[in-house]
């Protein structure tokens, strides 16, 4: 179909389509990040994505695969380490987040023949979205949305009260693992657009904005998706017209919407 081809041939449209696909799953997953207080955890996973990229070059596997595997391994390591209670979780996350980022950067510097656009990886790149990336994004989004729909009640219940959920026979541990797999997948596919340093913002800010207006968990996820769409659409347009970096532009747009909603809601409340 010529129209679709024309759209997919244009890098701006590819970036926009990709960004909207990411926002589609960042909305509901971002709500879980906010509800479960996993913001710092998400940050740590996102930072480890850079290590994943370095390792992918080292053992020559596709970038997405390397990133997903690294995130999953780190997520499992985090869960196991936090169980031992030797260090507070936030300390542990701080150590792992920055170490993973640093090890990734050092490893990349040892590979002079590998040419990577570091700024693009850290802050996102409007031009980097390929047709293959779009396939990854929409494939991943479909998988995540199906999983979320199937596990919704159990996920919600284990978020509200973990022990109550366990007594009622919900496999809480397995769900936590599934949630981490979904985070890893989102980080791997969102990396290209917003960059590893800003992925958590795309998860948290739309969800936090949605909380102000939401009446139920489902309503909140729906609003988070809409605010995510606005952030991606506005941010990429900004980036295209003013030649600003893609990731920061998306985050700035998301933040503006956040301020608008919270400022506006406060006025009507008082």
């Amino acid at each position: 179909m010529p129209i679709i081809d024309a759209v997919l041939d244009d890098f701006f449209w590819r970036a926009l389509l990709g960004g909207l696909g990411v926002a589609l799953v960042a909305g509901p997953l971002g709500c879980f990040v906010v509800w479960r207080r996993m913001a710092y955890f998400g940050d740590t996973l996102a930072h480890s994505a850079l290590l994943g990229i370095a390792l992918s070059f080292l053992i020559s596997v596709p970038l997405n695969v390397g990133v997903i595997i690294t995130c999953v391994v780190l997520a499992i390591a985090l869960v196991l380490l936090s169980r031992s209670h030797t260090l507070a979780t936030d300390t542990l996350l701080g150590i792992l987040a920055h170490s993973a980022l640093a090890i990734g950067l050092v490893t990349l510097s040892f590979m002079p023949d590998v040419r990577v656009d570091l700024t693009g990886l850290l802050f996102g790149d409007l031009l980097a979205m390929s047709r293959d990336d779009l396939l990854w994004i929409y494939g991943g989004a479909l998988l995540i949305l199906l999983l979320l729909m199937k596990l919704w009640r159990s996920l919600l219940m284990s978020t509200i009260h973990e022990e109550l959920a366990r007594v009622e026979g919900i496999p809480v541990e397995r769900l936590r693992l599934v949630l981490m797999l979904m985070f890893s997948l989102v980080i791997a596919v969102a990396m290209k657009i917003v960059g590893v340093l800003l992925i958590t913002a795309l998860l948290i800010i739309p969800a936090a904005t949605a909380r102000r207006l939401a009446r139920s968990p489902e309503h909140m996820t729906l609003l988070a998706v809409i605010f995510g769409f606005v952030a991606v659409g506005g941010g990429l347009t900004l980036s295209w017209n003013l030649d600003t970096p893609a990731g920061p532009s998306v985050v700035v747009t998301a933040f503006s919407v956040f301020l608008l909603i919270y400022g506006g809601a406060r006025q009507t409340q008082t």
């Binding site: 509800w35 009640r153 509200i160 009260h161 022990e163 109550l164 007594v167 139920s216 968990p217």
Partner: protein, 260 residues
């Protein structure tokens, strides 16, 4: 006697080789109300978590009858304020039908709150909601961890009364942890005094004379319990209140007394 709902045999739970629960035997039958009391760190919560199947035991066995439905009322519902949730939605997450959820809310007296946000409930209302949540599942066994926490004095007595009524209606077994010695002693069939191991168990009137109980809780508490059971004939309960460690000044004493 019918088959017990729960049988614990020589259950030991150790964290880092330090036993938190030490060789506990316990049986709960339909119609029982068993209250676990004990000082802080006595392993009460750990023990009921073992009953609930969410705490692995180091030694011994926990046996539940087949197809046992357990209703659990946790210590509190610390809900993240970022999660918008109404009472109706919270009840629906139990997977039970709307009429079943409503009936349960009605039983615990909070049906009028069905459209309220959970974040706006008081401590007592939250406890009643958690109880309703457990009831909606039509439990064979009801497990409560300090159900009267955050509930005012009048509400506490009403809550323990309600638990007794529910036991009669559902003919379920009840096992609960409580610090409200007076109220519990009045409402309970059987008391287990836990201090890692079961230091004594039996009926309230008996264990208040038990040397092991007196050693754990001190003479004053034991006396106050003994006094409590005579409190309809005697007027010593005021004195009992004071020595049981309820920190009050004189005016409060009178106030407490007036509620009886």
């Amino acid at each position: 006697m019918t088959e017990p709902l729960v049988t614990l045999k020589q259950v030991t739970i150790a964290f880092d080789d330090r036993p938190v629960v030490d060789r506990v035997d316990l049986q709960v039958h339909r119609g029982d109300i068993i209250t676990i009391i004990g000082p802080n760190g006595a392993g009460k919560t750990t023990l009921i978590k073992a009953v609930l199947g969410i705490q692995r035991v180091t030694q011994g066995s926990v046996k539940l009858t087949r197809n046992l439905t357990v209703g659990y009322v946790p210590q509190h519902l610390a809900l993240e304020s970022t999660l918008p949730l109404t009472v109706r939605r919270f009840m629906a997450l139990s997977g039970r039908s709307d009429p079943e959820c409503r009936a349960a809310l009605e039983k615990t007296g909070v049906e009028h709150l069905i459209d309220a946000s959970i974040h706006h409930l008081s401590g007592g209302e939250k406890q009643r909601l958690l109880l309703a949540r457990a009831l909606a599942r039509k439990p064979d066994l009801l497990v409560l961890d300090e159900p009267a926490q955050g509930v005012d004095i009048n509400g506490q007595a009403a809550l323990y009364d309600l638990i007794r009524q529910l036991r009669d209606q559902l003919h379920c077994g009840v096992i609960m942890i409580s610090h409200d010695l007076h109220l519990v002693m009045a409402a309970t069939d059987k008391v287990i005094c836990l201090n890692q191991h079961i230091c004594c168990s039996g009926y309230p009137a008996d264990i208040s004379h038990d040397p092991a109980f007196i050693e754990t809780f001190g003479q004053p508490v034991a006396e106050s319990l003994a006094v409590y059971h005579h409190h309809h004939n005697h007027r010593h309960d005021l004195h009992g209140d004071v020595v049981s460690g309820v920190v009050t000044d004189d005016s409060h004493k009178e106030c407490d007394h007036a509620h009886h």
